[in-house]
Every structure is written in structure tokens, then in C-alpha cells.
Amino acid sequence: MYTINVHYFALLREKSGVEHEQVLSKAKNYQELYEELAKKYYFDLPVNMIQVAVNDEFSNLENSLLDQAKVVFIPPVAGG
């Protein structure tokens, strides 16, 4: 079980209604973690459009979770 500090940005923050929260997860990677959260908050953006930052560095959705990590899921920000 990992403890992850999840932050949300833009559309995902709007959908979840929280800026950040602590999450307990057994997910094998960040894609699974996103999918768990997507179920919880009804995120409908496909995972391949999401970027993940782990401890302030862009990471891969296939990477294994790091315990106590700060994780930000970043959707496309396209307005102008």
C-alpha cells in the first residue's frame, strides 16, 4: 500500500472539487492510480491525454508508484 499526495490541475481539479488530497493505493503504476481516481470522480478524459508529474518532474504513466510522492495529474490546457 502506497501513500500518495495527489494534486489536481485545471479540468481535473474542477471535476474532483479538491486541490490536493492524500490517497492510499495499491495501484501498480500511475495509469492505474489515475483510473482509480477517474472512477471516484467520474473523470472522462482518456488516460493517454493525461500527463503525470512525480515530485515535480514529468514521469511516465507506466512507472511504479513511489511511496509518499507528490503526484500531479495534468490534463491538456488549451484555452487562449
Binding site: 494534486h7 490541475f9 485545471a10 479540468l11 481539479r13 474542477e14 472522462d44 478524459l45 482518456p46 493517454n48 491525454m49 500527463q51 508529474a53 515535480d56 518532474e57 514529468f58 514521469s59 500531479v72 495534468i74 490534463p75 491538456p76 490546457v77 488549451a78 484555452g79 487562449g80
Partner: protein, 452 residues
Amino acid sequence: MFSISSLEISSQQLHQDIQDQRSGAVVIFEGIVRNHNQGLDVKSLEYQVYHELAQKEGDKILQEAKLKFNIHHARAVHREGHLRLGEAAVWVGATASHRDDAFKATRYIIDEIKHRLPVWKKEHYLKAEAKWVFCRDHHHHVHFEEKDFYQKQKNILDQTRLKKARVLMVGLGGLGCPASVNLALAGVGKLILVDFDKVSFDNLHRQFLFRPQHVGESKVKIAASLLREMNPFIEIDYHESFFRPEHLEGIDFVIDGTDNMKTKYQIHDACLKYRLPLLSAGLFRDDAQLRTMIPGDGCWRCLQDVVPDDALFGNCNDFGTTGAWANTAGSILASEALELISTGKNSTSEMVLHLNLRTLTSFKVKKGRKEDCHYCAGNFELVDTFMEVDEAMSGDILDIRHLSDDEVLKSIQSREKVILCCHRGHRSLKVTQWLRGQGHDHVYSLRGGAPN
């Protein structure tokens, strides 16, 4: 009739234009380039005219003269461009039955032209550096030099580098308005604006270059003429169209303030192909994202090789934003661009900035770089992102592996939106390009194909 001319004024021709048999008096005034001004020897002059406004104002002045005085005809021409000593810079003529009205009208017109017309004059001297003079202040000639314009930033920005820079600004919306104003005022030597769009009423609360009377008019046209007026020392040009890779010719830096991912990737890919630095911003309500892409130093596709489908998350038209937020993000975009042009690096060249404009919190994320990214290497074919779709996009899929081109053509005609797919996405793209060339804009190609 008032006009602006870049050619020598032909007094004889103009005289004929206003002459008629009712007129007992013709009064003509010509303003000539003289060889001195305020103790300096002048060798030539250069006029810059703010066209749209000058034309309207000039017409108005002639109309007023006709109402005020009993004249038959009035005509005035103002020169622009480079003028030699002795050349006429302005020509005014009026005809009337009697001399008094003709004299008064001519005097009125030339005085109003000098006072009201948005014309800038650059005087070239024999023994001193050229100076600009704003003609409206002709009673107490305000002289200034280009470097005085940038006086307050001279220890901060490299003005020589800015002057040399040729910058393409794509998107003249909520981000593009503040970005282009700040770039123009800072003295970017050549600024080229790209936007296909026209001003709409719900742009006005945040896109401060536009006024209610501009609704329905081309954004770039209006922006270009305002920016020219704000800084007469730089060159402004525009393309009233969607972004196209050809726009990058002769460009050094690209600024993206567009509002959709397909265009953003289109610009990004073209910048990678032509090895140009790109500064890009996106806005979601109160959240802004800013990134700088230097070719070879990590690109967007290193991390995300899928163009996100705009239909799934929307833009400013869908979720809204405020002028204060958009203008702040656009100004940061300009600041980042000026820093990059001036010093060769900036705060977002290594980190992507995420800024919440309401809570004023931000976080930076270190950019990633995929070792073998063929986009970073510039080793890829430039493809119109509007023709390709990724799996995520819903649509009617047509497998073309066992169909000839003509069979595909027959098959797509009865459908609304159709995505062609083949094994690797190469033939489907070729066929899509062929079909689009014939006007079938509802056809897309599945990127990467579908091996199974």
C-alpha cells in the same frame, strides 16, 4: 476627397481635379520639405501614417470645410515614405466662387491636418542622428529618438537582440492580445500576427485590443494597426488565416496563444521541423500552463505522442475565464519571450510552469526528454494534425486495407465523419490527403494505424 500617397504629388493633376467653371478662385497650399528644423540641417524626411485613422480623419476634415465655408471642391493629399528636400509633403486645394472662402477653407484644412492627422515624421539630419517628430505637436516640436522610447528598460533587455528578432505570434485572443502588445512595446523588430478569426462580442471583456465597433472584423488587421500606432519604430505584418508551416519562413521565435490542442501541436511540430524555439501558453479558466520548447532539448511528444482531442475538454468559449486572468497569463508569456530573445534562456526552458491565477499558487515541473525521440531529432514528416486522429476520438471507422482508392471515395460519401484506417497509418493518411484535396473535409486518418 482625401488621400495618402507614397508617390510624388502631382500638383497639376490635383489642380485639374478641383477646377470647374463655377469657380472664380482656386487656393492651393503645398507643404514642402525644408532644409532646417530647430537649428539642425535636415537632409531628408520620412513619414509614417496610421492609414485607417488618417483616411477617416482626413475625409472628416474636408467634409467639415465644405460645411463651414462656401466652397465648391476641396482636395488634400498627404505623403508617406521617404521624401527629399523640396518635395511636397502635403497638398491642399479648394475652389470657391470668391477668394475669401477658398482662402479660409484651405487654411482650415491644412491647420486641421497638422493638428489631427496621425502622422509621424522622421527627420534625417546632416550632422546628427535621425529623430522622430510627432506632427500633431508641431507647435512645440517634440523631438525624440528611438532609444528614448526604451529608456526605462535599457538596463534590463538587450535592445539590439530584440530589434533583430522576427517573431511570429499565433492567436490574437485572450493570450495573444496582451502578449502582442508587450512584445511590440518592448521593441521586437518584426512582429507577424496570425489569426483567421474575426472579433466577436464575447471576446471584448478580455481581448482589450478590440472595441464593440470591431465586431465582425479581422482580429489581425485591427491588432496590426493599433500596434503600429503604439510603437512606430517596429515592423508589424499579419496573415489572416489558420497557422501554416509556411508562416515560419524568415522567423526566429514563435509564440503560441491559440486555444486548441490540434493547432498547438501543429505549431509545435512545425517548430521542431524548422528548428525554431516555441513559447506556448494555455489557459483553463484560472489555470495557466506555460512552456518553452527549444528544438533538440525535449519536446511535447517525448511525453505525450497523442494529440489530445479538443472535443473532450473544451477551451475558453466553453468554461470561461476573465480578462484579468487571461491578460496576466499573456503578459507572462510575453515576459518569457523577451527573456529568451534577450538572453537565450528563460524560466520555462527547463521547467513547465503551472500557475493558478486565483490562488496565486504555482508549481514547476521539470521537462522530460525521451532519449530516442525522433521528433526532437527533427526526423519526421510534418503532418496536418487536423487530418489525423488518435484512437481516443470517436467516429465511424473505415478499414481501407482491402479497398481501392476509388472504392474508399465511394464509401465515404454517404457518411458524416469517417476515420480511415490501415495497417500502419501511412496509406490511410495518403488517401485522406487525396480526399481532402477534393474537398472531403469530413475524412480523417487513424494515426499509427491498427495492426489487428
